[in-house]
């Protein structure tokens, strides 16, 4: 099969102020292939693709489409060259129907006739095997349906070069399978497909070739068949790193936190948690898996004392006093006054965890200001702590007095996790602690969680990457629409088991 280049990039460079997002990138995408673009956070993957789809304009360098040099100045130009991009944050109008979103901005001849367009769109759906209700409003759709709308949209515009920015980040394993089979159909149809990702297993599964970027620079392209995960990681990070998570067994386990039959009704009157019961043990990582928004957030916040439950009890077995403490209906301050050391890394880091405009030292004080005796702040101890965290966790920051908001996502997370661990907790809860973090930082966080576990802390870890959950946790609690649909042993369960439980509705707690 002779390969025909769809897009060729030559010496593309783009800077934002002083930051070099891409430097002299050379890249070729062929027709009838899936090319993965792999790189850590901030390696310039999305910026590069945004230049092909007309969102940004390169500072210098050339772009060739089908062998001809082109200028892509706007998204409209990109459409004219049959380039379509599916953005990580969907570009859809919520109150429009799928069909309205798909025809939006398209210059067609003749009168505006949505019914006729719907028929044509349906044809595309049938051709590639998409299941989609075209008259459904976007705000009523699941994430996976929205993504389908995005893909159909670019196909309807006649795109034959498709760019997908982290398409699997929000999907369940079943949905990912469906997406990949659709992508394979399109590849067979001769389309050029570029997929941006940082999940290695997906790269291996779907792509024909892999291009690697590191810190804005193009490192190289390899045939997937000749690559393996450790080669790719090395290219991506620039050094060899250990990708295995070591799961140790802690001998002495105690029931630390017993959650019994709790229910929570939110302010819209919806029952977000329904009769949830589970036990978190010391020296164990309890994973919580589930589709985003299934009640994970509410569950952790209920334990932390931030939500008022309608039913059930939460019991804490205090290792110091040996007594049972009842946590329900207590505020975070009351919980702390009982001598319970509960640490919580919320998913909304800069909203609930840290104050963006305050510096690292001040953010340390948010947890310890009550210890002060005089009316004035004592900044010595928090300053030491801040510096220790910056050293230990390799936080990249100009200094301890830099506002947290200016740090990158991974570094913000390190500051937060570092502060929570410094409180020497007995229960450590983390919601999506590696969301948006690159491989290096992610594994550092996993190791920190493992350390906590070995110290006898009861760790509760809400994650989205099932591979990681299965490797890291001891047990996995699967939550589906606010109910526990199952608890599995992470050592024996498979991804498919967990994936099925995630979509199961009306599941019961079938124990262990």
């Amino acid at each position: 099969m002779s390969r025909q280049a769809a897009i060729e990039l030559k010496n593309i460079t783009k800077t934002f102020g002083n930051i070099i997002a891409n430097k002299d990138v050379n890249l070729t995408v062929y027709r009838g292939e899936v090319l993965s673009i792999l790189g850590e956070n901030g390696s310039g993957k999305t910026t590069l693709m945004n230049m092909i789809s007309g969102i940004y304009f390169p500072d210098h360098g050339q772009i060739f489409v089908d062998g001809k040099e082109v200028m892509i100045k706007s998204p409209k130009d990109a459409f004219d060259f049959k380039i379509g991009m599916i953005h990580q944050h969907f570009k859809l109008v919520d109150v429009f129907t799928a069909a309205e979103n798909i025809v939006l901005g398209l210059e067609e001849k003749g009168r505006y006739n949505l019914k006729k367009s719907v028929k044509e769109i349906q044809k595309i759906c049938d051709q590639y095997g998409f299941e989609l209700d075209l008259n459904k409003k976007i705000y009523e759709m699941s994430v996976s349906e929205k993504q389908t709308v995005e893909i159909v949209k670019v196909l309807y515009r006649g795109a034959d070069i498709l760019i997908l920015d982290e398409p699997t980040a929000v999907l369940t394993p079943q949905e990912i399978k469906k997406l990949f089979s659709v992508l394979k159909n399109m590849r067979a149809d001769g389309k050029a497909i570029v997929i941006i990702t940082h999940k290695l297993n997906e790269v291996m599964e779907i792509s024909d070739r892999v291009a690697v970027l590191r810190k804005g620079e193009y490192i190289g392209t390899v045939e997937t068949a000749e690559a393996n995960e450790s080669i790719l990681t090395e290219m991506m990070v620039g050094k060899k790193i250990e990708l295995n998570i070591e799961r140790t067994d802690v001998e002495k386990k105690e029931d630390r936190l017993v959650v019994d039959n709790i229910s929570y009704v939110n302010h819209e009157g919806l029952k977000v948690l329904k009769n949830v019961s589970f036990t978190a043990r010391s020296g164990e990582i309890l994973g919580i898996a589930g589709i985003a928004g299934s009640g994970q957030r509410e569950l952790l916040e209920s334990i932390a004392g931030l939500r008022k439950l309608s039913d059930g009890t939460i019991v804490y077995n205090n290792p110091q006093t040996g007594k049972k403490d009842y946590l329900r209906d207590k505020t975070p301050v009351q919980i702390r006054e009982l001598g319970i050391r509960l640490s919580f890394v919320p998913e909304d880091r800069l909203g609930m965890g840290l104050v963006g405009n305050m510096d690292i030292i001040d953010n340390m004080m948010l947890r310890s200001y009550r210890k002060g005796k005089s009316a004035f702040l004592q900044r010595k101890a928090p300053k030491d702590l801040a510096e220790k965290i910056i050293d230990d966790l390799e936080v990249v920051t100009p200094g301890a007095t830099t506002p947290v908001r200016r740090l990158s996502g991974g570094n913000v997370q390190k500051v937060l996790v570092g502060r929570e661990i410094a409180a020497a907790p007995t229960v450590f809860m983390a919601a999506y602690p590696v969301r948006g973090l690159d491989i290096n930082s992610s594994y550092m966080i996993y190791n920190l969680l493992n350390n906590q576990k070995e110290k006898g802390v009861a760790v509760i870890f809400v994650g989205e990457d099932l591979d990681v959950l299965l490797q890291l946790c001891d047990r996995i609690l699967v939550i589906s629409s606010g109910q526990i649909s199952g608890v599995v042993d992470a050592r024996t369960a498979t991804k498919e088991d967990v994936g099925l439980l995630m979509t199961k509705t009306g599941g019961e707690n079938d124990g262990e």
Partner: protein, 325 residues
């Protein structure tokens, strides 16, 4: 008497209809123009200036010119207001609320200044400008309306601008829902980043709909002076009709066809106190308050229904910059 109340309600409602339709068009592009009160005021005084100059320059009015000149003057005045607002909020991305409020203050001041100046030029003792001759041209209604009994009185007795207002509102409804360009405009107001990625020129749509919206709203000011007030301009007589128009936008849940009903209803609530016998001055004011109470009730009902279609355009009040991250 019912017929009379309806007639008065419609005449009271038409300026509100112009204002609210213009504001809906603006808000559909994602821009909340709180300057509508000022825009309408400027529209009114610009029309007055045009009519005044024309009346001063000729002995006998040509009926066509007597209408065209004030209308053009009014459109020009309100267009300039629209341009100021769009330049500040779209190109410079200034805060829309602050810009709008400033525009209202500016518009009222502008109107009062030129109103006062014209009054001085006429040299009369009364604090108002009288443009009865122009007003008579504006007030012409269909000649056979009065022969059709109550039907003619209720539906056909108004001057041409009233029908223009209703027509614009209907055209806007069709435009929003049945045209490709209307779909694009709504996309700009809902989610400009999406519209941009779909190849829609966001700035162009915002400018066009703000400017057109301002011109439509400006006509409301002109109708008020020439028809409702019979060609008599006095400073501050326009009252808070601009704010009422913004309230109608919410009442009509951003649909121009509903704003026809809303405007006439609000117009009726505004004047109904004249027809209730035995009211004191204080209780009149209470009844004049009802439109605002109705708006608050509508707001409560809308937020209880939680239906996305009843919500304002999603990015209303936010400015858009493509390379923002």
């Amino acid at each position: 008497m019912v017929v009379q109340i309806i007639q008065r309600a419609v005449m009271q409602g038409i300026p509100l209809l112009f204002g609210s339709t213009g504001e809906i068009l603006t808000e559909k592009a994602g821009n909340l123009n709180l300057g509508t009160a000022g825009v309408m005021y400027v529209g009114g005084i610009s029309g007055v200036i045009g009519a005044f100059l024309y009346e001063q320059s000729v002995e006998v009015l040509n009926p066509a010119l007597a209408i065209i000149i004030p209308v053009l003057a009014c459109l020009l005045g309100s267009l300039i207001m629209g341009l100021i607002y769009s330049f500040l909020t779209v190109s410079l991305r200034a805060n829309q609320n602050v810009t709008g409020l400033a525009l209202t203050t500016f518009g009222v001041g502008f109107g009062n200044f030129f109103g006062g100046s014209l009054i001085k030029i006429t040299g009369l003792d009364v604090p108002s400008i009288t443009l009865t001759r122009t007003s008579l041209c504006f007030q012409k209604s269909l000649p056979f309306a009065s022969k059709l009994g109550w039907f003619g009185d209720v539906f056909l007795s108004y001057s041409f601008l009233a029908y223009v207002a209703v027509a614009i509102a209907i055209i806007c409804t069709i435009y929003f829902n049945r045209t490709r360009s209307g779909l694009k405009l709504r996309a700009v107001g809902e989610n400009p980043a999406t519209a941009d990625a779909a190849g829609i020129n966001v700035e162009k749509y915002k400018y066009l709909s703000i400017c057109l919206g301002s011109m439509i709203a400006g006509l409301g000011g002109l109708y008020y002076v020439m028809d409702y007030a019979c060609g008599i301009w006095s400073n501050d007589a326009f009252g808070d009709r601009g704010w009422l128009a913004i309230a109608i936008v919410i009442f009509a849940i951003w649909r121009p066809n509903l704003s026809i009903v809303g405007s006439i209803l609000f117009g009726g609530l505004f004047i109904v106190h004249n027809y209730i016998p035995g009211l004191t001055f204080a209780s009149q004011e209470l009844i004049k308050m009802t439109p605002y109470v109705v708006t608050i009730i509508v707001l409560i009902v809308i937020s209880m229904l939680r239906k996305r279609e009843f919500q304002p355009p999603e990015s209303l009040g936010l400015s858009y910059f493509r390379e923002d991250r």
